[in-house]
Amino acid sequence: MTTSLTNAELLVMSALLRLDNHAYGVPIVEELEGHQQRMSVATVYVALGRLEERGLVTSTVGEATAERGGRAKKFFRVTAKGVREVRALQKTLVQLWQGVPQLRGGTTS
């Protein structure tokens, strides 16, 4: 059985998977913005914190750089359990959307 993912959590996990499943806050926010999804940095961290608590992502602290005012990066990675969650939700959504007349035509609005 799958647990529910919020919209923000699903977006953050998808962005993380697109970034070779190893990224910190800045590229995640930029990846989302590249797909017309504006999310504040704090919202991304709140979503990542919740996902980490549920064992869907893990984190490691990276190096501190001058570009970041001497602060360390925190890298995130989607776990196998996290990938299963996303796949299960993807399957459910695809099944739900099949045959819905309003959603025909792919990405055109």
Binding site: S40, V41, V46, G49, R68
Partner: protein, 197 residues
């Protein structure tokens, strides 16, 4: 390298963002700023970080957070009720001996009651160990709301409530808020964040 982001915003970020990711978040915001984001963007992100962090604490530790604020307020009100009569008798004697002019009484009274603000912040911080920053900030915000409410009530009865000194109020309100934050340890030392976030 571009200049540093707004110092006050960075200070607020360091002091009032309750999550354990605050350091990584601050680094990310710094990096975004260095890549050309505006000061306005930086300020907005800092406020979003403070409020989303506080809201996250409200959702995760509601009993601890509101319980701590309630305990802090009740304990402070009880202590004020117990200690103030003695303090006021001292104050009256002080004035009767002509050591203070009547217009100085509100100031002397405030000096006597100020430690209760510190005490309230300290109690809240001790009770809400899981969500200390959010609980102390909430207590300070409630103190500000209480002060504004007092002003509004007195404004209704103007000029009958001439004993209410607006100028005193104008500096007492922010000072009370600062005393609660100071008592809660939010303005001194390195911020102690919960490890459960």
């Amino acid at each position: 390298m571009r200049s540093h982001p707004p110092a006050i915003a960075t200070w607020l970020l360091r002091r009032f963002v309750p999550t354990t990711d605050a350091e990584a978040l601050a680094g990310d915001l710094f990096e975004h700023y260095q890549r050309g984001r505006s000061a306005w963007w930086y300020w907005r992100e800092v406020f979003v970080a403070i409020f989303t962090g506080a809201w996250s604490d409200v959702r995760r530790h509601p009993f601890s957070l509101f319980g701590a604020v309630a305990v802090g307020w009740v304990a402070t009100v009880a202590l004020v009720a117990l200690v103030l009569p003695t303090e006021y008798s001292l104050l009256v004697r002080y004035v009767l001996r002509h050591q203070a002019r009547p217009e100085q009484m509100p100031f002397v009274g405030f000096v006597m009651t100020a430690p209760f603000g510190l005490l309230c912040g300290w109690i809240v911080a001790q009770v809400a160990r899981e969500c200390r920053i959010s609980a102390v900030s909430l207590a300070a915000a409630l103190s500000a709301i209480d002060g504004i409410w007092e002003l509004w009530l007195n404004a209704q009865n103007w000029p009958a409530s001439q004993h209410f000194n607006v100028w005193m109020w104008l500096w007492q309100l922010p000072l009370n808020v600062l005393l609660i934050l100071l008592g809660g340890g939010l303005l001194t030392g390195s911020p102690k964040r919960s490890t459960s976030n």
